[in-house]
Symmetry: C2
Subunit: 569 residues, 2 copies
């Protein structure tokens, strides 16, 4: 008899562990149990199945060679047994068995023995404690059953108006799927005052928000759903928030997930403050014969140092390999996460790694950041487009804490974030990103690439050469009459603003004329400097500083950032 | 009087230094001299100007805000003086002056004093010592004059057939520019036995070669140009190689560049074995008042440890900022290069960082590599395309030495290479790439991304689980009848090959049936295993090993790699 490995949960991490162990240790006997009838699927593909990008549910359950990953596949191709519709009820660590219930025939339980046990119990979607959350037409999005339910209902033509609750990744992806492909009138409701509050800063999120609004999604921020209204027979008819009532035929709950650590906790294994199983670098729980990984664990955040859940299929896969190696007698490690993230929202790619400025402050850092607008390839190359990068560092140590990026070319956005993400575990400082050797050719990058420039600007800010103001703060101050603008672009670019806001509030002095026109810079009020994307206003600020005017603020990301975050400015 | 800074050379690094110093130290007096009449241009954009992607030469000489970077621009916007058509003849380090010659009025020389001198003398294109290299219609591609000459000649309709000598980046880009936009019948001649010999391995280069051939470029490898034939009045008519004669109206010489360290050497500054100026981490030469950077220096290669020239506009820009900071009293460093590189060749993006396997062996490592074919995003996401990644590590230390990648989406290719490039200075090992936290969402990546899988495969090879064979070596062995193939795909995919090579040489046993059909595996000859892209043949190899058959070889990158490198196989 070979090693007996029991895997609880068969979506992402479970199958990875099972197949890896079997490859390394062919004598092992491996059984996966899964409470659902579907298993080994790409859960992150659900929004693309709902939208129709992925036509059949089998597309999410097949290998890249188009083989369906069903029970026969696991048995014959992988040598792994799988028991779907089987729930783990309890772990008996002393006896080294798991009590399981066969959900197909009711309440019968049996004991499955193990030498090594793997907990791949995933996460549970949170359901807000509001009336009506159980009405027909209200659904979370956490497995293929939900996906099939939602898509069937839409495909039948039953859904004209939908409300998506929660503006994290799944909320945004589902909103797009509904509105874009099915032309469902979609409202997105979020408690926080911005989209993607865990992923990006408020300035970057404004760009996403305007993009979604332009695509027809109604976005309601800082609002809380209090009730879902409808009939237990015919289903949901409206969502009531603190401020309004939104008629709808479908409600998608996407308010987040919680690690499913119940089984572990009940067995006396260590569980963290988020409810996730606690593991070491080998991904062993507090019982050395029990491993855990994927959405059900907490892991070290390599920037903040805190233990966090990070429910991503990518991490589950990498952790699965580590567990498989270790069960087979190897010495693989998983040290933690830097929180890399990306998402496509209509025609925009958004990515981040590390901490946002707010998260950095919460973690005890003193965050300073740059915001840079620049072409995603050589500005003379025809297909270039402006992208936006925000780079965050700790003031005292200059350690890079995070990066956020967005733009029309998601691969180009991701390229910049992935390169900086790779540095984060090494506690790299800003200078490392100034010199970060991203590959260069005009069709793919600038000679001084946006990611280098983001670091250069941040370095200038940390050195006190560049005295920046956030575009959001600028807009507030300007609207309240607390600052004037010196626009250092040419006369044509500044014309619209001079006419709208008056020549005395929006003063035009082209940067190349500034040295000779210092006297025209207002002294009666603070001054903010603006150009297209930032370099000329920085140059202007240096000229003013050299001439004894040290109080100006340089608008980060320039007019590019202003126009994208405040299109009606 | 402020600090007097003299900059010799005003293309990429020179202007960056000048402007940076002026911003940090407004009191500085900065003069750039440039022997050509054009300056501050994007030299890497020349192929795109020739092709017509960039319409006017001014496009390469303008800022992203469309301002021409002429003498007035540098004077008024940057506060920097520039003297074009002025050549530095000698450095008098004791007197701290540079003897310069005004090329507009002949031989007059004057002495320009400096407090700090910057050498940005660039590189010189190599011209092969063959008869006819000076004929009309023969041109190197190293400045805008060459670019204008080439484009004018083509635009006049004078060029029907061209020969490009040298298959490095510039050779490939120029070949594309000529053939794609102008439909010039183009032949590429290269001395080495592969395209891009400095950048990628022979297997990867075969894919590029077939792509270029399919686009109409005639590729002649392992051939040497012995003579260029033509008339001193009417110009070139043919290129003669060791093996053939190619009629043509234009010849592009793209055989490489050499650091221009003459001025430095003559002044007694330390110069390396490649002829480049030797600098320290502050980019100071052996004279602390003289800095150098860009194409004229040698810099540490952070993987090989050797001092190498790395003539790239991107490095020149980053080094320019470092020099500017240091001249202004700061403490910036440039530690070296990891040799990041990318190029677009028609509809293909190619990128690399670190060392190729050959370069690694030359540098004293014991290189082992994986080759992985995988979709560049989730395989169920509609717009996915297969890309190829080669990951190279040192056998004993498992240190990652290099990565090569190519595919139809250049941004996606670059994303993978840039992320690994970021790790190279930290001497990361293969495990770091197994767990490399590239951002994941189905539109942009796989849950187990290709870059992670490349490391997983390499780890399996290093552990002895995966016993690989290079596709090139396999083809040789198979053609010589030294190996049989067990094709572990389904019957339909293997049909063509069974018919072509015979059922006894190309045996089909689907992977999921292999465990029960071990007896059918040939024992009389070595066996190579193949599937679509590699995972199933690996799985098959493990099954065979578990059944006592330990001699099979697994074809790296599977049929994907075989079909792309050997389309007529």
């Amino acid at each position: 008899m070979g090693l007996n490995v029991l895997v609880v949960g068969a979506v992402a991490l479970g199958p990875k562990v099972a197949c890896r162990v079997k490859r390394l240790l062919p004598s092992a006997q491996i059984t996966m149990i899964e409470k659902d009838c579907r298993f080994s699927y790409g859960g992150c593909g659900i929004p693309y199945f709902v939208s129709g990008d992925v036509q059949n549910i089998e597309g999410l359950c097949s290998t890249s060679a188009h083989t369906l990953r069903d029970e026969l596949f696991f048995e014959t191709a992988k040598g792994v047994a799988i028991r779907p519709r089987t729930e783990a009820v309890a772990i008996n660590r002393k006896a080294k068995t798991v009590t399981v219930r066969d959900l197909r025939n009711g309440s019968d339980t049996t004991e499955l023995p193990y030498d090594k046990l793997v907990l791949a119990t995933g996460a549970e979607p949170m359901v807000p404690p509001i009336p009506g959350a159980d009405l027909p037409g209200v659904s979370v999005v956490s497995n293929l059953e939900h996906a099939a339910y939602i898509k069937e209902k839409i495909a039948r033509g039953d859904v004209n108006r939908a409300v998506v609750i929660g503006a994290g990744a799944i909320g945004l992806e589902m909103a797009e799927a509904l509105a874009d492909m099915w032309e469902v009138e979609t409202t997105l409701v979020e408690m926080a005052d911005q989209l993607l509050p865990q992923a990006i800063g408020p300035d970057m999120s404004l760009i996403v928000q305007h993009h979604m609004t332009a695509k027809g999604i109604a976005v309601r921020l800082s609002d809380v759903v209090t009730r879902i209204i409808g009939d237990p027979e015919t289903g949901v008819t409206a969502v009531e928030t603190r401020t309004t009532r939104i008629p709808c035929d479908m409600v998608i709950l996407a308010v987040g997930v919680r690690p499913n650590g119940r089984l572990a906790a009940e067995a006396g294994l260590a569980v963290g403050r988020h409810g996730g199983v606690i593991v070491d670098q080998r991904l062993r729980t507090s019982d050395p014969d029990i491993y855990a990984g994927g959405d059900c664990i907490e892991m070290p955040h390599l920037v903040s140092g805190e233990r966090v859940p990070m429910p991503l299929g990518s991490l589950a896969n990498r952790q699965g390999r580590v567990i498989g190696t270790n069960i087979a007698g190897g010495q693989a490690r998983f040290d933690g996460t830097v929180g890399s993230f990306c998402i496509k929202v209509f025609d925009m790619g958004i990515a981040k790694a590390g901490l946002t400025a707010r998260q950095a402050a919460e973690a005890g850092f003193d965050p300073v950041y740059s915001v840079v607008a620049q072409a995603d390839r050589a500005h003379f190359y025809p297909s270039h487009a402006i992208m936006y990068v925000k780079l965050i560092a700790d003031r005292a140590t200059r350690r890079v804490l995070g990066i956020e990026a967005l733009g029309p070319n998601g691969d180009a956005v991701k390229a910049r974030v992935d390169a900086v993400a790779a540095l984060l575990p090494y506690r790299a400082d800003v200078a490392a990103v100034c010199n970060l050797e991203v590959a260069y050719a005009p069709p793919f990058a600038s000679a001084m690439d946006i990611v280098n420039n983001a670091a250069n600007v941040l370095d200038n800010i940390l050195m006190g050469y560049n005295d920046p103001i956030d575009v959001t703060e600028f807009v507030e101050r300007f609207k309240e009459g607390q600052t004037k603008v010196v626009d250092v672009r040419g006369a044509p670019e500044s014309k619209k603003f001079r006419e709208k806001y008056g020549e005395d509030r929006w003063i035009n002095i082209p940067q190349n004329e500034l040295a000779g026109r210092i006297a025209e810079v207002p002294k009666d009020q603070p001054v903010c400097l603006i150009c297209d994307t930032g370099p000329r206003s920085y140059e202007a600020q240096r000229i003013l500083q050299a001439n004894g005017i040290a109080t100006t603020k340089n608008i980060q990301g320039g007019y590019g950032m202003l126009s994208r975050t405040n299109p009606d400015f």
